[in-house]
């Protein structure tokens, strides 16, 4: 199980650095966003079930710099980090199967 939360201070450590060893799936989310609430359990399950990636949740009201830095203009906003870089992203709610497939196609 590799489910974590990150903020502006530990984002580089938990996401950028870690992604040089294994892919990291980052979910930028907000309390006030309904699709974010719906995606949350799915993202958490993926984090608990997969050992080959890390899953990191970032609350954009707590972390303000990183969402800006990565140009988050819609939430939920899911980014896949490999080797320190975002290789792809999607916005909005999706099913677990779709997300797992999306990840597998990219790593």
């Amino acid at each position: 199980m590799a489910l974590k939360n990150a903020n502006d201070d530990d984002f580089d450590e938990k996401v950028v650095k870690t992604s040089k060893e294994k892919p990291v799936l980052v979910d930028f989310w907000a309390e006030w966003c309904m699709p974010c609430q719906q995606l949350k359990p799915t993202i958490e399950e993926i984090g608990k079930e997969r050992d080959d990636i890390d899953v990191v949740k970032v609350n954009i009201d707590v972390a303000e710099e990183k969402p800006q830095e990565y140009g988050v203009r819609s939430v939920p906003n899911v980014n896949l980090f490999v080797d320190g870089e975002v290789i792809d992203s999607f916005v909005g709610n999706r099913t677990k199967e779709d997300i797992n497939e999306w990840i597998d196609e990219r790593i």
């Binding site: 006030w32 309904m34 939920p76």
Partner: protein
């Protein structure tokens, strides 16, 4: 084995489940998005009994109400429905067997289908103002569409944004008079009619909108609020096609039955209620459908 599987977890599906459960039917609700489109509504002011309520809260309450009486609501996508002696509905990791099916599939936000739109989704182009509005604090944004949902979006955006342009394609705003007045009184909101967007422009993020008449407006966000289209995630039951009208709405009779025996439909996806597509009409159709299912299941003596 269920008496009824409700496909769709919006106001129509929830209300159908509420009534079905009270008729003592075994019912389950399976939907992709809890609350459906209504859950994204900034504010609902025409649901009787609530002066104003967030769409999200309204649908959460509906969900709680049916869960309280023992209806399970599952977040899953039904991929296929087959029919033998009973209906078999397949989700990715679960199968549901039922005597009847209610298609309460709801609606999806309509796309403009113009250049740059697809590429800039999530990078300035948005279909959910309650999700993304707060990300545009002190920015300039546009709302495409001058009907109720567009003007509601504009009033919400005006709380955050520096400037909100509303662009309506026809010659007059289509929203309720009360909404138009509210926007006119808001200094941040500028209403434009006869403006048809041609393309969204931006390298990495949205930078401007170009209109058919050549006009250009620089904005960082564009919220597309031009209505909805019926969801088409389920087209057939086994090999049999669910009949729809030319605009894609599932054809229903007054009792919410479809062309397929045992398959009913309710809410924004149907031709019912003069296609008014309100929370109140979705709920009404759900109730009617539940009663029809009750009669159907009883008559068949399953």
């Amino acid at each position: 084995m269920y008496d009824l599987v409700v496909v769709g977890a919006g106001p129509a599906g929830y209300t159908a489940a509420l009534y079905a459960k009270r008729y003592d039917l075994d019912v389950v609700v399976v939907g992709e998005e809890f609350g459906g489109l209504c859950s994204e509504a900034y504010i609902v002011e025409n649901w009787p009994g609530s002066k104003e309520i967030e769409g999200r809260e309204l649908t959460e309450r509906m969900k709680e109400q049916i869960e309280d009486i023992g209806v399970e609501v599952k977040q899953k996508k039904i991929k296929r429905i087959d029919r033998g002696d009973t209906f078999v509905l397949e989700a990715e990791d679960e199968k549901f067997e039922a005597h009847s099916v209610l298609l309460a599939l709801g609606a999806d936000k309509r796309r403009l289908n113009i250049e740059g739109e697809k590429e800039l989704v999530g990078k300035g182009v948005s279909y959910c103002v309650t999700c993304d509005g707060p990300l545009y604090r002190n920015k300039r944004v546009a709302v495409i569409g001058g009907a109720d949902s567009g003007l509601k979006a504009a009033t919400l955006l005006a709380k955050y944004a520096e400037k909100v342009y509303v662009f309506e394609a026809t010659d007059e705003m289509k929203a309720e008079k009360i909404m138009i007045e509210r926007c006119k009184q808001n200094d941040k909101i500028e209403l434009n009619t006869g403006t048809v967007p041609k393309r969204f422009v931006g390298d990495e993020y949205l930078e401007k909108i170009v209109f058919e008449d050549g006009k250009e407006v620089e904005v960082e966000g564009a919220f597309v609020e031009i209505g909805s289209v019926p969801n088409r995630s389920i087209e057939r039951i086994g090999e049999e096609e669910v009949e729809r009208d030319e605009d894609g709405f599932i054809k229903v009779e007054d009792d919410m039955s479809t062309n397929i025996e045992g398959v009913f439909s309710a809410g924004d996806v149907t031709t019912g209620s003069n296609k008014m597509r309100q929370v109140v009409t979705a709920a009404a159709e759900g109730a009617i459908a539940a009663f029809s299912v009750y009669k159907y299941v009883g008559d068949k003596k399953f």
